[in-house]
């Protein structure tokens, strides 16, 4: 399997970092770039990119997708209950995110929430999120948990609320318009010095789940912690993620959507593309850019540029998924 890096079509930071190292300004500039409207189109495992305007022009007509085409939205790390300098009002930014979603044309067929619904599982947090998400113009929301949703009770409340129709500890898959969606759980079984993990039972389930599928079936895998080694020093990796990816190698189009790190990072390995997402609550530092991970305070006027949602569009017959990053501001 070869590693290919995604190449950006343009940039707005200097070619070389300033003498003495990267400044906070450059780090933030990079994050701001990550939140600009850019479409990554996956076709046959190869990524190409275009601006948001070009993507819109390529649509048959606004709000009129061709038959079999559809769109869905990834929302992540809503962290209901968070109160800190990095964002004093996560409810307000979530409402902004929902306004973004409800303005999308075509409307998303469904939402994928890639975890950390709540910040600390405080009483009422899940209820608050559920109530707010009622205002989203879509038919269904699929959830996978983040570690913030399960650390107190091992996932009991999460599974009670969202585990209906899932297998094991919340593993799930479904088909929509020819695309096979797989939701994995990699935040249980945290242990000292450990990392996110799927576990042998879930890997066995995954193997059986994809065994019946043709290799030409487009796959979308969504889970909280990145399946690839983003930054193991901070625990930003799934220790048995490679085993899961090995089961997906034969497929011609695999799109992996993750949350957890509150910023957009993307990578291609063979036919598999990896995409981490922005949070709607607060940003985190780029890997290694701070002494530790955690809520990152940015200037107030920049906060909405580093929070957002992801609009994903599928065009039938092309096995192509177009990812449109939509920052809040």
């Amino acid at each position: 399997m070869t590693d290919d890096t995604i190449r950006a079509p343009h940039d707005h930071i200097h070619d070389e970092p300033p003498a003495g190292g990267l400044t906070r300004r450059h780090a933030l500039a990079c994050m701001a770039w990550a939140g600009t409207g850019l479409v990554w189109t996956l076709a046959g495992g190869l990524l190409s990119s275009q601006t948001l305007g070009q993507a819109a022009a390529a649509q048959p007509a606004a709000g009129q997708p061709a038959r079999g085409d559809f769109a869905f939205v990834q929302i992540s790390d809503t962290h209901i209950g968070f109160k800190g300098e990095a964002n004093p009002d996560v409810i307000a930014t979530l409402h902004l995110a929902i306004a973004k979603i409800n303005a999308l044309q075509p409307a998303p067929a469904f939402l994928l929430h890639t975890g950390d619904l709540t910040h600390s599982q405080k009483a009422g947090s899940f209820d608050t999120l559920a109530e707010i998400l009622k205002s989203v113009n879509t038919s269904q929301v699929f959830y996978v948990p983040g570690e913030h949703d399960v650390f107190l009770d091992g996932g009991t409340e999460f599974l009670t609320r969202y585990g209906h129709g899932t297998t094991g500890n919340g593993w799930q898959s479904f088909d929509y318009q020819g695309v096979h969606f797989i939701g994995l759980v990699n935040v249980l079984n945290f242990k000292a010095a450990g990392l996110g993990s799927l576990g042998p039972d879930q890997l066995g389930w995954l193997k059986n789940d994809v065994a019946r599928l043709s290799s030409s079936t487009p796959l979308v895998v969504f889970t909280h912690i990145p399946l690839w080694a983003v930054y193991p020093t901070w625990g930003w990796v799934t220790e048995d993620g490679e085993q899961a990816l090995g089961l997906l190698k034969r497929f011609g189009s695999v799109t992996v959507l993750n949350g957890h790190i509150h910023q957009i990072l993307q990578k291609v390995e063979g036919q598999i593309t990896f995409h981490t997402a922005m949070s709607t609550a607060f940003p985190q530092p780029a890997p290694g850019a701070a002494s530790s991970p955690g809520p990152l305070k940015v200037p107030a006027e920049q906060l909405h540029q580093v929070l957002g949602i992801r609009d994903v569009r599928y065009v039938q017959g092309q096995h192509a998924l177009a990812l449109i990053e939509a920052p809040l501001g």
Partner: protein, 188 residues
């Protein structure tokens, strides 16, 4: 040129990836309770959350600042709590204040959470001693026994958690939200 791109397991941003070592960002502001005496966290007006195994956890809030009198009174309660045998519980009855004052300093070791680390990472105590953890970081953390002996709820910035170790042994623990954060209590 490339930027904000994947490079193996490195960050996407090419400019970021070239920098070695990283220029650290300015340190994040710590929790509101930084530098505050740990005894203040036992104010009767503060929420006391249920914990397994008789441990205690206390939240810090703005109203804490307005309740110095209550907090000082609570300090007396804390010094007593750490001096009595058995698990600390909310049901304990305070003893005479003068009995507590002499034992507090020797029996109240503290572990501080800062920059996603427990410090000191290893603390050696005598059996019967209560250890208090103070979250002075800007993120949510837990204090979770690797052996399943104790587990704090989520500790917001400024929150504290206490646990009394009654038997000799080595007790590793970690943060359930950031499992790379580890610490050990050695009880002699």
């Amino acid at each position: 040129m490339r930027l904000c791109l994947a490079q193996g397991s490195r960050p996407l941003c090419d400019a970021l990836a070239r920098v070695s070592p990283w220029t650290p960002l300015p340190p994040r502001r710590r929790g509101r309770a930084a530098g505050r005496p740990s005894t203040l966290t036992l104010g009767p007006g503060h929420p006391r959350r249920a914990c397994p195994h008789g441990a205690t956890v206390h939240g810090a809030g703005r109203r804490q600042r307005r309740r110095w009198g209550a907090a000082l009174a609570a300090g007396v309660l804390l010094t007593w709590l750490v001096s009595v045998p058995g698990p600390i519980t909310a049901q304990d009855t305070p003893p005479p204040p003068e009995a507590a004052a002499t034992t507090a300093a020797a029996t109240a070791p503290q572990v501080t959470v800062a920059q996603a680390m427990f410090g000191p990472a290893t603390v050696t105590i005598r059996a019967g001693t209560t250890v208090t953890w103070v979250n002075n970081d800007g993120d949510l953390h837990t204090v979770t026994s690797s052996q399943g002996l104790f587990a704090s709820p989520g500790l917001d910035p400024g929150d504290t958690f206490a646990y009394r170790f009654s038997a000799a042994g080595t007790y590793p623990y970690f943060c359930a939200l950031h499992p790379h954060m580890k610490g050990t209590i050695v009880v002699q």
